[in-house]
């Protein structure tokens, strides 16, 4: 079943000096439900633009996005979004931040707080429930964001270089935790949601669908410029060309077994082969993106 489908999506921007700029050109691909897809490409190629369009935060200039087969207009109510920057509300405590999506959706405060508490336990931050985000480390804040996203139990999670600001070791730790969460390896995941799982999201999704989704793996679209990270996490790697007018240049299926041990994976022969194959394509785009622009500025 197809969760997300992009059909000939383009996006134009107007530069401050009034000229047109095409960020994405005729991008088409589809993502099947429950798969983990990484989108890689050189810096500035429009990866974030693509994700914002899928999220519904940006409208495409041309083309259609279909979510579960339905053409999207407005915000994507089946997705949550983990941003590159810190998006926790600094004036709310950790617990209030995790509960935010629930309270916005009309879940009673006490219940929302209780469920947030359970999620904090799951990501190992129960002791920090009453702290403010500014009092946590970068890795801890990312865990809070993961809980904030997962508690809504939407079927799609969009991630825009979520771990790029972290140091290498914290980053690997977060990647492992993300995979655990996604693969539902810790058994509490279902027990946690309990009978109230369907109430988490009341906008645009009916209760039955939300309930069904909670038993399924989420569809993850993970944008990164780091090919290693992409291969280590994803089922499939989509390579975007250098901008402007970025388009899909290659799609590679990642056949590595799951669950994956991220500590060992990067030196495994299968991983290295894949890396070489995809890098051969990506390399060309990175070189293109580093060449000086064709026209002089001004």
């Amino acid at each position: 079943m197809i969760a997300l489908e992009l059909e000939r999506v383009s996006r134009d921007f107007t530069t401050p000096d009034g000229r047109g700029y095409r960020a994405l050109d005729d991008v088409s691909f589809s993502i099947s439900a429950g798969s983990f897809v990484a989108i890689v490409g050189p810096s500035g190629c429009g990866k974030s633009t693509l994700l914002n369009i899928v999220a519904g935060l940006l409208a495409p200039s041309a083309g259609t996005v279909r979510v579960d087969g339905e053409p999207q207009s407005g915000l994507n109510r089946r997705a949550t979004y983990m941003f590159q920057q810190d998006a926790l509300l600094p004036w709310k405590t950790v617990r209030e931040n995790v509960a935010l999506g629930l309270t916005l959706g009309g879940v009673a405060k006490l219940e929302a707080q209780a469920r947030a508490g359970a999620w904090l336990e799951r990501v190992g931050l129960a002791a920090f429930a009453a702290h403010y985000p500014s009092q946590l480390s970068g890795g801890m804040r990312k865990r809070v964001v993961m809980a904030q996203n997962w508690i809504l139990d939407r079927s799609i999670v969009l991630m825009d270089e979520p771990f790029s600001a972290l140091d290498v070791h914290t980053r690997q730790q977060m990647e492992s935790e993300l995979l655990e969460l996604w693969e539902g390896r810790s058994a509490e995941s279902l027990a946690l949601r309990g009978a109230n799982g369907a109430q988490g999201d009341t906008r645009g999704v009916d209760g039955a669908r939300a309930f069904q989704a909670s038993g399924q793996r989420k569809t993850i679209v993970f944008v990164t410029h780091d090919l290693e990270e992409a291969i280590a996490l994803a089922d499939e790697v989509v390579v975007l060309s250098a901008g402007p007018a970025a388009h899909v240049v290659a799609r590679h299926t990642v056949t590595l077994d799951r669950p994956r041990d991220l500590m060992e994976l990067r030196t495994a022969p299968a991983f290295v082969d894949l890396y070489r194959a995809i890098w051969a394509v990506l390399r060309q785009e990175v070189i293109k993106s580093q060449q000086p622009a064709g026209q002089p500025r001004g």
Partner: protein, 262 residues
């Protein structure tokens, strides 16, 4: 994000060393003043002397004549602060949310803000009479703009990512305002509360000074009318002390409300 917001005023080094130097600076200045007048370098008729000023304040306090005037000034300032803040915050919010409105009103706001408030005082006396309301109006014209600009800035400066995130999490427009825009603007609003408070008192006292029958401004203007420099300085001192005490209260409130800041 929050990093871009102004720092909490009143923060900074505290402790015995700071207290010592604070007292020392005041003591040296007062001693110098007193000595220069005693040595006839300065004429007491023009600058009075600290001991006389202190005596005058003690006299005002002991006879109780001070309290009535002080209460009037505080009442006017407080009303000016509340009304001015309410108007400034709502205007800042409306214009911050609507670029169209902001563009339309931009020249008018700049024009109004450039009007010297002293020239308004006679108009306000004419419109609102000699009672407290002409002073409140003057305080409002000062507080409004401080609050307006802070709120406008706060709303415009609200972090794009925070807004996108709560929208993705399902926030309606109203929830967006409540959970992101208001708290974001509050940082700026509280940071300007100290300034607004000072301006509110300036507005009240200037109004009293130009035409009233009560208040600290009235006391000062009466003293000036009889070349009683001691009375003028005593009035200014009382005003200064009151501002410091009220500011300390505002600082505490501010620290509590912005406790989420690291």
């Amino acid at each position: 994000m929050a990093d871009a917001a102004p720092a909490v005023p009143g923060a900074g080094p505290t402790g015995p060393a700071v207290l010592f130097w604070r007292v020392a600076v005041g003591a040296v200045a007062l001693t110098l003043w007193q000595t220069l007048v005693s040595l006839k370098v300065l004429d007491a008729f023009f600058v009075s002397r600290p001991s006389d000023i202190a005596q005058r304040i003690v006299q005002w306090v002991s006879t109780g004549s001070l309290w009535g005037h002080l209460a009037v000034t505080l009442e006017e300032s407080l009303l000016g602060l509340v009304v001015g803040a309410a108007m400034g915050i709502s205007a800042g919010f409306s214009l911050g949310r609507s670029p169209m409105l902001a563009s339309v009103f931009d020249p008018y706001i700049k024009m109004l803000n450039a009007v010297p408030r002293v020239v308004l005082a006679p108009l306000f006396l004419l419109w609102f009479g000699l009672g407290i309301w002409s002073k409140v109006a003057l305080a409002v014209t000062l507080v409004f703009f401080v609050m307006f600009f802070s709120t406008y800035q706060g709303v415009r400066d609200a972090d794009r990512v925070l807004i996108d995130n709560v929208r993705m999490l399902g926030a309606s427009e109203r929830q967006l305002v409540r959970h992101v825009l208001i708290p974001s603007a509050l940082t700026w609003i509280f940071s300007s509360l100290q300034t607004s408070l000072g301006f509110a008192m300036v507005g009240a006292v200037v109004g009293e000074y130009l035409g009233s029958t009560r208040g600290l401004g009235y006391v000062i203007s009466q003293a000036e009318g009889t070349f009683d420099t001691t009375g003028v300085f005593a009035g200014m001192t009382v005003l200064g002390i009151v501002v410091v005490i009220v500011s300390a209260g505002v600082s505490r409130l501010e620290r509590w409300l912005l406790r989420w800041k690291a």
